[in-house]
Each structure stands twice: as C-alpha cells, then as structure tokens.
Symmetry: C2
Subunit: 194 residues, 2 copies
C-alpha cells in the first residue's frame, strides 16, 4: 500500500456524526476536506481542493535566516478560472464547486461566476462529472446537483423544492462523514440502467 499524505490526519481525527450536533466548529469546507481525506486514505477516490490562486508581487529571499525559506511579502487574491475541487473516482473525472447559503433560496448569480459554469459545462462535454455541492444552512440540508440540471432552473433564485426534485441529498443521518460521492454512485447507477 502507498503512503497517502493525509492518512495520518484522518486516523487522528474524530469522525463526527453530521446530524448529531457534534460537529460544532467545523464549517462546510472542513466537512468536504474531511470526506476527501477519508476517500484518499481509504483508496476510494483521489479528490483535492485546488489551492487559492494568488498573484505574488514581492518575494523576499530568507536564505540568511534560520528559516531558510522564501517569504512572500506582497500578494493579492487572483480570480479563480475554474472550480474548487477536482479529482478521480471509479475512473471518472470529478469536478465541483461547493457553496453554502444561509438564505432560504440559492442565488445562482451571486454564488457562481460565468467562467465557473462554463468550466463545468466543458468538463461535462469531455465526459466528466460536474456538479455543485450546495449547503442550505437554513434547512440544514446539503444537495449535489448536476450543472446542467441546475441551469434548467430559469430563475436566479433556486428553491429547496427544486433542489429536492432535481438534486441529490447527501447529508444522510447514517453517514459518519459527508459522503458526497454517494451522489456520483447514484448518478452512475441511473446511467447504467439507461
């Protein structure tokens, strides 16, 4: 077996029940990160969060110091050209963006940039699996929805009823972690059944 970088972290980490209130202090991104660490460590999938794009303006060479490390002293956040997460699962290329809202509806325009939507549609055209993972905090529900299905919604504000109907709920009570790949399993099963 190979040595996965995140393995140790997962083993030391208490797996929490998402719906039992034990997960206080963990945010949506932490749950996804925990799931990815679990997937990677158990050789289920290899999915990572892409680093935040940063435009470096000034770097100071700290070779003289005890740190022996270069230090960035000036940088700005760069525009994301793609999505937050990608990787591989069961031979499929997986690509998704994760968004959380405290509102009763999900605002497509304010949550997704045009180039991110274009990116996900391009992934689909190449045979990949492209979706949005939406945390509807007001309802304490998380949905995965295919990018094309989400765009079927003609209005900017997406209701929870639409997500229930067109999406897949992933925060099931019997999961020990945010097992969002269940959405992909469901997708592949429906695909193979025509």
């Amino acid at each position: 077996m190979y040595n996965y970088p995140n393995q140790k972290k997962v083993q030391n980490q208490e797996i929490v029940d998402l719906n039992n209130g034990k997960a206080r202090g963990m945010n949506f991104e932490d749950f996804i990160s925990q799931a990815n660490s679990y997937y990677n460590a158990h050789n289920i999938a290899n999915i990572h969060k892409k680093p935040t794009p940063i435009k470096i303006i000034k770097v100071v060479n700290y070779k003289e110091t005890i740190y022996n490390k270069s230090k960035i002293t000036e940088a700005v956040f760069d525009k994301k050209s793609t999505t937050d997460y990608n990787g591989i699962y069961k031979g499929y290329y997986i690509d998704f963006e994760a968004k959380e809202t405290i509102n009763k509806t999900f605002n497509i325009k304010s949550n997704l940039h045009k180039h991110q939507i274009d990116h996900l549609l391009s992934i689909k055209s190449h045979g990949g699996i492209a979706f949005i993972l939406i945390s509807m905090k007001y309802y304490n529900k998380i949905y995965a929805i295919d990018i094309k299905k989400l765009l079927k919604h003609q209005k900017v504000l997406v209701t929870i009823e639409f997500l229930k109907e067109q999406g897949y709920e992933v925060n099931q009570t019997n999961s020990l972690y945010l097992d969002y790949l269940k959405y992909v399993d469901d997708l592949l099963e429906r695909k193979s059944n025509g």
Copy 2:
C-alpha cells in the same frame, strides 16, 4: 459554443514552432501553458495548472483604498501534496508533473517528491492517466513517461536512452505547439490494440 476564459489569449498569441528557435524567452512551463490554452480554447481537453499552494499568514483589508482589494502581506510557500497539472481528455482523468533539467540525466530523487509519486500511482490505481513530462534541455528533447515505467528504472539517474525506449517524445518538428496529448493518444491506441 461556450466562452472559454483563455480563448482570447490564445488567439492573440503567436503560435511558435518549438524547434525553429522562434520561441526564445518562453520557458518549459510557458509551452505547457500555451498547449493547455490551445486545448481548452479548441475544446480538445480541459487541463489546468494548479495554483501554487501558499500558506497565508497575514492579510490586510484594503477596503479604504482605491484598490478595494484585500492584500496579503505575509505568506510562505506551502508543500505541494499533489502534482502541477490535472484535467480531462477524451473522458480520461489526466494528471502529470512537468520537470526540466539541464543535466545529461534526469535525477528522480531531486525532481520528484515521494508524495508526488504516491499521488500519481494512486491516480493510476483509480483508472487515470499519470505521467511525468520531462524536458531534457541538454538534448533539446521532451519526453512523456508513465509513472510506473519511470519507476522501473532502478537507478536514481535516468538516461536519455531509457526515456527514448520507455517514454514518448513529444517535441516533434511538425507541431505548432507542445502537443503533449499525442502521448496520451499513443497510449490509448496501444491500449485498444491490447
């Protein structure tokens, strides 16, 4: 057709003949970036360089200024846990690391971290295509080689003869750009022929 973020850049960019010396000033990474822009713009593949992982230490909120942008004033380079490039081509998950050397041999140990090798082997185990793109500057040759084939080499220093035999040469004179996906085409063709 969708609007790809990089399309404009490619159209305005002079496509240079790699082997005719017109490409002065462009480095190895620029060539890969140019190829990826071309692939993306022409809907051939969707492959991106992952941003450099950075650990942000201090951020100053510049809301008061005319820039209206947060500014990072302290950060360090983080350890890469994966590889530089990934994406999708013909439905396949593609993952690779690009390395250049001016030496007569390619040093596996100094060019590849253990966790990067582990990452590429994991990608292969999930059904993806994982390789190293090596620029042997001394010979003015570029090779793509499957991670498992590279590791077959028992010694740390890989010779150009080994790369010629086990790898695939991608800097062909008839290419207008660094068409490294020809390696994947070759791989898929040999796969389908058993």
